[in-house]
Subunit: 445 residues, 2 copies
């Protein structure tokens, strides 16, 4: 045990605790969360995460005074799954690793969270996963989700199909959280005809933090992939801010609704398909597509048209933005309108109405879809005159799809079908992305 370790032990301080460090000789006082030490255990550097999010390394000197201010969160403890299933009876699942916070550690040199684990390290960090299933880990990329494009979505889809066609019961895909709901929507469309659970998960806090959500998320995702009879793509993340259960949300109805909370992902205009408790019990919460007895080869349909835009309409907004995309040869535009699906239309001043531009885009063969920036609820072109003007101009009202799902759907449609077919299918339900009935209780859950 090094000096530092002995000193911390004496002060009753563990990794994850909030502590203060005071040094008279260096006229310094710092407060933060104690981070785990890295490879070089004999180093005399102590790393704490400051309130502003930065990590800082401090060289230990013997005059330092350490005080524990608050107990750190206890890490999630895995249930003894191995006892429940004999090793030889455990299902086989695939874990596709793509990057993101779940595989990241603090980079103690720069103070940021960026150094990404090798996938083998992920299983090494969470050895308990092996108790749940026989897991084959494959690294596809090492990309933060904000840097993922449809080219990666296509790759992931192909690997999911390959794993399932080779007999795996299900697949876990770990990704960054920022665009996880775009990814889940893309996989939902690309993997039509799916006959197995495809569970996307990740973490809001890196796995070397005491408060990381990585462990529960991974465990619940593995459980769903190995044992559930769900034949859909979904997102499995914390259902509440505590480490008590995860929600499995349909891939076309999920949305990241908070920048940092562990329970940031929510079902929009839908209920979660299932919950998984921390003792790995699956509770099915609403209707879902079940695995069929007759399984056939999964052939992903991965075409995607990049020239589709997602555009927000707001007061004073420039309708010329539509011309810009039409001029660049875009084939589709999803508008994030206001309320029931409005843009400025009957404005009393010159140059504010979007109606002429939308009309022209439609006439030129661009598929224009309308969604709502309210996020919750359904667009409806029947209620007001302005709505009917937009609808008559050819805008397709996208029912209860989020703007993000409508964008991914239109990109996928135009990547696989011609414009007429895309137009016809945009407002029709294909994989559960459109619910025919709006349920009043699906707001803010």
């Amino acid at each position: 045990m090094t000096d530092i370790e002995a000193m911390l032990k004496k002060a009753g301080i563990s990794v994850g605790d909030t502590i203060s460090i005071e040094s008279g000789s260096r006229n310094m006082k710092l407060t933060g969360e104690l981070m785990p030490r890295t490879e070089n255990n004999k180093s005399d550097i102590i790393v704490i995460k400051l309130k502003n999010g930065y990590n800082t390394g401090i060289r230990y000197t013997s005059d330092m005074r350490f005080e524990k201010i608050a107990q750190g969160k206890k890490e999630f403890t895995f249930p003894e799954r191995a006892e429940k299933h004999a090793v030889e009876k455990k299902p086989y699942i695939q874990l596709l690793y793509t990057g993101g916070t779940i595989g990241s550690k603090v980079d103690y040199k720069t103070g940021g969270v960026y150094m990404l684990l090798k996938p083998s390290e992920l299983l090494y960090e969470v050895p308990e996963l092996e108790g749940i299933a026989n897991i084959e880990v494959k690294q596809l990329f090492n990309i933060a989700s904000e840097d993922m494009s449809y080219l990666e979505w296509q790759e992931i889809s192909k690997h999911v199909a390959e794993a399932l066609n080779s007999g795996k019961h299900g697949v876990v895909v770990t990704t960054g959280t920022d665009t996880m709901h775009y990814i889940s929507a893309a996989l939902s469309f690309m993997l039509q005809g799916l006959n197995a659970p495809v569970v996307i998960t990740g973490a809001q806090r890196s796995s070397d933090r005491g408060s990381s959500d990585a462990f529960l998320n991974l465990a619940c995702a593995a459980e769903l992939a190995a044992y559930s009879d769900i034949a859909e793509v979904g997102i499995c993340m914390h259902a509440s801010s505590s480490d008590s259960k995860c929600a499995f949300i349909r891939g076309t109805h999920a949305r990241k609704m908070h920048t940092s909370r562990r329970d940031a992902f929510r079902a929009i205009n839908d209920k979660p398909i299932a919950y998984v408790s921390k003792d790995l019990k699956i509770e099915y919460a609403s209707g879902y597509k079940k695995i069929a007895n007759q399984s056939k080869e999964l052939k992903p349909l991965t075409g995607f048209e990049r020239k589709v835009a997602l555009v927000k309409a707001y007061p004073n907004s420039d309708p010329g933005i539509i011309d810009y995309y039409v001029g660049k040869g875009y084939k589709g535009i999803i508008i994030e309108g206001t309320g029931l699906g409005h843009t400025p239309v009957s404005v009393q001043h010159e140059g504010f109405s979007w109606l002429p531009q939308i009309k022209e885009a439609v006439e030129k063969g661009v598929v224009v879809g309308m969604t709502s920036q309210c996020i919750y609820g359904r667009v409806n072109s029947n209620v007001y005159r302005n709505l009917r003007l937009l609808s008559n101009a050819g805008a397709i009202y996208c029912e209860d799809m989020t703007p993000e799902t409508a964008y991914v759907k239109l990109g996928w449609l135009l990547g696989n079908y011609d414009s007429e077919k895309a137009k016809e299918l945009l407002g029709k339900n294909l994989v559960g992305e459109i619910c025919n009935r709006s349920n009043y209780d699906e707001f803010m859950i």
Copy 2:
């Protein structure tokens, strides 16, 4: 009593009830909500609102069979406010009418909701308001909120100041709901130094529907304007789906979160300032700016720069959109990024990263602000390398402001100050739009 009225009475049917109408001779069966009859009470037309939102008029024939399927919602009943306050002691308030659903009725000719009331009709429809306060009603425009621009925001601000400077205790502004939170943010900035309650309200359902929220919203708004000691701009709308109370939400923290629910407006990264119950009791829920004893003349600062854009970043998005706005001479751009405030930055493929465009825009003097499409939570440029790259390029991280509030703020800043000053003030709190601390319990309330 006409034939129709007698027949409806006999069948126990009232306005607002869901009914079915069957006619053998016309081989017709329709179901919908019975609407009130218009001016021409002797007409033989019955109007019902169909499930798809359309109203349809049906000529009454004696072979028709009517059946009541469900009881309509009972309209909100006003408390006997007049008894509480002698007329001569009631405060004076101003009601500024601008259009929107609250003043609209069904147009029985076209079947849409568009015919707008005269403001005098609004008080005639809700005579109980006179029991709360001495109300002077003024019509400024007759515009749906999706068609409002900053030119109308400026007009409203001037009229609010005029009313308050002439001695009114407070002001109620009725607007459409689609962009109500943009309007409330604009008034918050334009009316800095405010020393009275400015209460924006409206309705999600038109006032001739049994389920209209117009009555409770108007009553609670009038109560706040007449009796509260709040010196802020806010939105007063239903707090739940029932007619039990309204929430008063700070103007810079409100957002329409549902396309159709009566309780669509929510406080984002904030708690409501107050609730008003249906018996018009005000319960203050969180800290707010109070009316000061010393009141001075309110001078609105109404400058607004139209050349400010709100742009969404998403997977595969075209970074050329930044060049487009820079080329058009835009002075400011608010980016709706992902998660903690990301755009694609370190993408492996050509033409996906937004970093070069953002750098160039900043170098050309454009103010670039970063917000999050998560809506809830705070952006933070410290946590990941990609974030620091964007921050180093000059993007200003807009703390816990919604994209909409950040957009309105930047338009207002650039309309009143030079770019340097705007840049300096964008991330600083001016009127309560930025909270220094994020409260964990301000999610999905």
